[in-house]
Symmetry: C2
Subunit: 145 residues, 2 copies
DNA sequence: CTCACTGCAAACATTTTGCACCGTT
DNA sequence: AACGGTGCAAAATGTTTGCAGTGAG
């Protein structure tokens, strides 16, 4: 546990925002101005190998990291990209259902919700005067797959 | 509908394998040897905008494309990376459950199963003589998020 | 003739790697 | 001295973009 590693872990545990590697880098750099992005990546990898953090493989191009390592679901805001926890018990019945219709050995599942976060909702309401926001442009291409 | 676009669409519809852009490129190049990867990317984008194919944002670094545009779930093999369809009706109850525990407007969900495909299962059985494969190294880090 | 579309190469974004160096043991 | 870890720069990976040229309408 080097100083860099410890501080990276601290900063991840400090936030609930599921930061990307780059966000973690920018935060950690405030305390360790000479740290390099490569060190951040290397330590994120090591920390998640040891189960101290969790590497999230959600939609979008960048991986996100979670200081809360229990298995749980996430919601992503389709407007701003932020990710929050969904306090639902991961349901093993889902896997049994899938097991029934595939010849795979089903080991686990990954469930991600897409929606509009409270902040973006407010922003849209301000712009459109409480009327329902026009969702149609977004929902088609962003529907689950 | 240019020739390139039509052939790309044909090749995607021909397979059930949810190919990546690069796999599509290699397939299409057999019929159009001078096509460029950029053209493939551009047309995949256009075709999915028009709802003729679906761009999948599953785990892993590469996007995959699906000629079957109905909303459905997928399984990914953790050994070889292949992706297959899961014939389960997407369940709106899941979204209602999430809606109850978040302040997001939940619009949709994305469910992906992880497992071992029939082929990789056979391969493992050959190697380990019918005994259960050692799953523990894989399941922890590949569990849902 | 026009204009969307193409091929190519370069740019881009994210992540990984090679390497010399540093600090601790 | 040995060694894991670091910082930096370069490479690798996947995707997008600028641009000049091409071809169907």
């Amino acid at each position: 546990m080097t100083n860099q590693r410890r501080i990276i872990l601290e900063e991840i545990r400090k936030v609930a925002s599921h930061p990307t590697a780059d966000e973690i880098f920018r935060t950690v750099r405030k305390r360790l101005p000479k740290i390099s992005l490569a060190t951040v990546y290397r330590n994120l990898e090591i920390l998640s190998e040891f189960g101290m953090i969790r590497k999230l493989d959600l939609a979008g191009t960048q991986k996100r990291f979670d200081g809360y390592t229990e298995n749980h679901y996430h919601v992503r805001c389709v407007e701003c990209g932020r990710v929050d926890d969904v306090c639902l018990e991961p349901d093993p019945v889902i896997e049994q259902a899938a097991q029934g219709v595939t010849d795979y050995d089903v080991l686990s599942h990954r469930l991600e919700f897409l929606g509009v976060c409270a902040e973006c909702k407010k922003k849209t309401e301000r712009e459109f005067g409480r009327s329902k926001p026009p969702k149609n442009e977004r929902t088609l291409s962003d529907a689950p797959n």
